[in-house]
Symmetry: C2
């Protein structure tokens, strides 16, 4: 079975998309064609959307599902003229929330919303530059400023996790690749020892690691299964010996890895 879903917003569409994706993920037997439509902020654009929705309805021979977070009442009324099945996210929750909070929301006066930042803009940008500058063990003399230092073998997922934590939460995350040398000595490099309480380990299944490394340097020792298996086993031994908390990244997304790390480290994300 095939259905089309639209995520429509007068802003970025992130809220409509995030909620819509989570809800549709519960329907595993249906194949959805998903379309993100941000900045639908005029009645004209809404009319164009109605045409797109109706065209999809005809093509699928079924009503498209519409997730919308449009604030403006006129625009929403226009969208409602389509043949879509509307999930009107803001309307659903704002009326009961207004009652509970005893305060008129901006919504009821038609104010456009903008995305809320999890933390202050400047903190996020600074954290992104910190992660870039302290990626892959490039520098170790700024670890005093780190909130967290990810350690693990080459290509186990450290860099994307650091950048995600920086961008989403303004967390200063450095990362350091543990090499064969470190493992054979079962020793932490000196630069890491002084900041041991900030260390968090990532590990990965050897066959997954081999696949990733093989794309980078095909048919090399670096990407051989024996090497990957050796490094992963030894790095896990090192984590255990040094009591460094760690997780296996193989089956998790960057979002999940980051959430688990922050929870285990007891780092409260700075929500604005």
């Amino acid at each position: 079975m095939k259905r089309t879903a639209f995520f429509i917003s007068d802003g970025t569409g992130i809220t409509a998309e995030t909620l819509g994706q989570s809800l549709l993920a519960q329907f595993e037997n249906i194949q959805f064609s998903k379309l993100l439509r941000p900045y639908v902020d005029t009645v004209e654009k809404a009319r164009d959307m109605v045409q797109q929705i109706n065209a999809a309805a005809e093509k699928d021979a079924a009503r498209p599902i519409i997730f919308d977070t449009v604030v403006n009442d006129e625009i929403r009324r226009e969208l409602a003229k389509s043949q879509g099945y509307m999930i009107d996210i803001f309307s659903t929750f704002l009326a009961p929330l207004e009652q509970e909070l005893g305060d008129g929301s901006s919504y009821s006066v038609g104010k456009t919303h903008s995305i809320q930042h999890n933390t202050h803009y400047k903190d996020r940008i600074d954290a992104v530059h910190y992660a870039m500058d302290n990626d892959d063990g490039a520098r170790t003399h700024h670890y005093a400023q780190a909130d967290i230092i990810l350690v693990g073998v080459s290509r186990c997922g450290k860099t994307p996790s650091c950048l995600y934590m920086a961008l989403q939460y303004g967390i200063r995350a450095a990362n350091y690749p543990l090499t064969e040398d470190d493992m054979e000595r079962l020793q932490l490099p000196k630069a890491l020892k002084e900041h041991k309480h900030k260390l968090f380990g990532l590990t990965i299944d050897p066959d997954r690691l081999q696949g990733i490394r093989n794309e980078r340097r095909p048919n090399s020792r670096y990407s051989s299964f024996a090497q990957c298996e050796f490094e992963v086993r030894e790095v896990e031994n090192l984590f255990r010996k040094e009591n460094i908390p760690y997780i296996n990244s193989t089956h998790f997304s960057v979002e999940e890895i980051s959430a688990k790390i922050l929870m285990q480290m007891g780092i409260e994300r700075r929500l604005k």
Copy 2:
């Protein structure tokens, strides 16, 4: 007025947090203390949450607002024993969606959900490494693989925007800093000319740019208002002369900048 809000999930909490933040943003007169509580995936953890919620209720002398995306019925029933005001996100929408789609969701059989990725994991990770390797004009010989190349003066917000597009949407985004030389000649560097259709410009208000640069190199020519003002004016002239689409990043978040760029470039984000 002060209220506490909890974002509670058996997963990362991203859906609960995103929707909760958007909804609470509509209530500008209330100061919320916001707490993210991911991986509440056992009845024991739910009991602990109930204690935290009730403690907040007592402290605020008002019911905390609970946004939850917990799938397990037993855990939700436990949470419902608290003194919080529950916004049960999944329950609200899944029953009507099941009816519309004529298919039982995994929700109704209590299957744990995990975050949906906007695109395939590998694409995102590859794109992150592409953005890192092609940051700040470091290399120009891989522009053929770029989906987009951001251009603008130093510190106008290119790097975080590229990384965001990579992480969220698996888009390969390079960036190139336009220097005084380029501006004085009002010429695009050769490396960029061949990929002109991939260029997108970022600009920024001179006083904001000065603030950012001043933190990096205080009291330098680089961070003087005159220099910032000159570079911004000239780069905008260059954008106009070369017909490069551009936006002013000053008042937008990374999410907003990215959404606007992709919309204007007509790049459809690859939603899985």
